[in-house]
Symmetry: C2
Subunit: 415 residues, 2 copies
Amino acid sequence: MKALPDLSAVEAMDAADPLRSMRERFVLPEGVIYLDGNSLGAASPAVFGELQKAATQEWAEDLIRAWNTAGWFDMPVVLGDQLGRLIGATAGQTVVCDTTSINIYKVLHAALAMRPDRHVIVAEGDSFPTDLYMAEGVASTRPGAVLRLEGVDAANVEELIDDQVAVILLNHVNYKSGELRDMAALTRKAHDAGALIVWDLCHTAGAMPVELDKANADFAVGCTYKYLNGGPGAPAFLYVATRHQGEARQPLSGWWGHARPFAFEQGYAAGSGIRRFLCGTQPVLSMRALKGALDLWDDVDLTVLREKSIALTDLFIQLVEAKCAGYGLELESPRDGSKRGSQVSFMHEHGYRIMRALIERGVIGDFRAPSTIRFGFTPLYVGYKDVWAAVAVLEDILRTEAWKDERFGVRTAVT
Amino acid sequence: MKALPDLSAVEAMDAADPLRSMRERFVLPEGVIYLDGNSLGAASPAVFGELQKAATQEWAEDLIRAWNTAGWFDMPVVLGDQLGRLIGATAGQTVVCDTTSINIYKVLHAALAMRPDRHVIVAEGDSFPTDLYMAEGVASTRPGAVLRLEGVDAANVEELIDDQVAVILLNHVNYKSGELRDMAALTRKAHDAGALIVWDLCHTAGAMPVELDKANADFAVGCTYKYLNGGPGAPAFLYVATRHQGEARQPLSGWWGHARPFAFEQGYAAGSGIRRFLCGTQPVLSMRALKGALDLWDDVDLTVLREKSIALTDLFIQLVEAKCAGYGLELESPRDGSKRGSQVSFMHEHGYRIMRALIERGVIGDFRAPSTIRFGFTPLYVGYKDVWAAVAVLEDILRTEAWKDERFGVRTAVT
C-alpha cells in the first residue's frame, strides 16, 4: 500500500501533470470543485467561439447557403470521424447524430434483423435505464422479440448467451459503480455464441482509450456531453463496423440517410456506409458546439489521460478511506484502477444528505438512489489538489455531521 | 384584376405595414433579398442572446445544476406550450424535441396501434420525401402494415380512405407548390372513415394561423427552423390531442418519456400527458436558440401576419406575370391567396440556371427538380419593396438571358 501523500506531495503531482495546461482551456466557476464531468462536461472558450461563429457568421450571413459553404450537411460524418479517433474507430464507421436513446434503437433494430432466426436481446439489469427502455421499445416492434435482463450483469453474461440470443447490449462502464468491462473478451464471447454486440460508451468516450476496431466490436453508441465536453444535450454518436454496413438497416429511415437526399424520390433507398444511420436534420448549433469541444482533443494523448484518470481516482479512494474512516462510507467502485472508469462511487446510508451538503460547499458530484454518492474525475480539468480539497470538505461534513442539517433532508433533484 | 402598382405604391405598402418594425429584430446581410425563409429562417439578436446566456452563464457557471436552475429539463414542454399558441393548441399538447422525421415515426406508430384492426397508412405521393420514408420505416416494423401513396393527393384523398385505413399523413402546405389544404374538412373526412390524421405543419407553423384544436386534429408534427426562425436544424415539435394522450404509445421509449425518469427503474412506464412522446436528452443549446426565436412571436398578431403573407405573394405573382411575361415562367402555386402558403413557385424549363443566376445577384430562393423555382415570403422580415426588387432582378436575368452563362449549367447543390 502506498504511503498517504501530504499536501505538498499532491501539489508535486499537479506540477508534474503533463495535462496540466489543458485546465486553462476550460471555464469553471470560482469556488467550485467539479466532480460531475461524467454527467455534464465543462464549458470552454473553444465551444463559445464555434457557437458564435456558427450563429452570427455562418447562419446570419450565409443563411441557407451555409449548408454547403460551412459544411453543415457533412458535419455528422466529419465529426464522426474526428470522434472515431478517440474510440478506436477508423474513418467511415462513426456518425454524430440524434440522442443516445435513439441511436440505441437504430443499432438494436439493425442487429436483430441481422439474426432473423434468433429473438432475444440481452441487456444488463443495472444498465443506465434508457438502454433498457429503448431495448423494450425495439422488442415491442419485433414480433417474438424478448428482452432478457433478469439477473444479467457483466460477470455472468456469458452464461446467459445461448443460441436464441441475437444481440447483447452492454455498458462499457457501469454508470453507477464505475466498473469497467473487458470489451475484447466480452465481444469474443458474444461472437463465439453467434450473437452481435452493442457497446454503450457513454462513460468511456473521452475518459480513456477505447478500441472498438481492435475489439472487433459490431456496434456502439454514446453521448458527447460527458467526458467529451460537447455541451448540454450535445448530439450523440453511433458506430457500425464497416463489415456490417452493407447489411445493417434501421427503421428510422429519414431523408438524411437516403442514398440521394436531394433527389426528392418517393421511395427510401438506404445510403451507402455509415450515412444510412442518419435520419433527420441535425441541430447545427449544438453540433458546432461539439466541434469546438472535439478540437481540444487534438492535443491529448489518451494513454496519458488514462494514467492521470487512474491516479486521480486512486488518490481519491486512498484519501477518503484514510481521512473519512469510521463514518460509514463503503467503496462501491472497483479498487483496481484498471477495472474502473474515471469515477468513484461510495455508498452511505445518508448519501443523499451528504451530497447535498457537499454541493452547498462547492464540491459537485451527484447522488444515485438509494445510497450512492458518485464523483467523476475528468483528467482534462481536474487536478490532484482538487481531489485533496474535495476530500477535506467531505471529511469536515462527516466529522461535524453537517449533513444532518434539516434542509438537506428535503428531497429535490440532485444534479 | 388589381392595377399594377408602381414603386411608390409599393413603398406606401411598406410604410403602412403593421409588421414593419419586426424587420429590425432580424439580421440579414447587406445586398441580399432573402426569399428562402421557408427553408431556413433568418437569424436574430434575440437568438444570439439566448445562445450566449445558455453557454457562457448557465452551462459555464451552473454546470450540471443548470438542468434545474435554468429550467433545461422542462424546456421541451415549456417551449411546446409557447409554440402551441402559434398552431392553435392549448397547453399540454405540444412538445419540442428531436427531428420532424423522428416525430413522424412516433406519431404514426402511435396512430397505427390505436387502430389495431386496420393496416393502411395513406400519404401523399408528393409529400416532402422524408414523410414517406418515415412512413415506410413505420410500416416495416408493423407486420401487415401497408403504405398507400400511389396517386394520392389532397384532392382525391377521400376516395382513398376506406375501412382499412388506420392513419392519414398530410402536409398542411405542399412544400413544392405551396398549396394549402383545408385542415378542418380533411380531418372530418378522415374521422368519418374511422381513421386518424397526422398533419405535417413544416410549411405553415409561423406562416399563418393554424387551428389544430378547432380542426379536431389528432396528431401533428413540424419543424422550427423555417418560418419560426429557430436556427439551422432547430429541434422539431409534435402535437398529440389531449383525448389521445392516455392511449397513444410510441416505441422510442427513452428515459425522458418515463413517468419517473430520475427513479432509474428497470422497466419503462410511459409518463403522463405529452411527455411520453419525449425520448432522450435534448440539445439544450439549439433548444435555447429556439426559445429566443419563439419569444419574438409574443408581439405578432397571426391574422395580420397572414394578411401580409397573402399581400406579399399576391404582389409577387402580379409583378412577375406583368414584368416577366413571355419568358416561359408558369405559375405552379395556387393563384387564390387563401389556398396558398407563404411561398410562390414557378416552373421554367431552365429553372435551375435561373435560380443560380438569381442567387448570384443576391436574390435567394431555391430550386426543386425538375423545374421549380421557389420563393418564400416570411412576413416578419420581407417587405413589399423586397418583392419589387426581386422581380426587377428576375426580369433582368430573363430579358438579358444572363442565366445562359455557362457557369450556371454546372450542377451543384442549390440551397
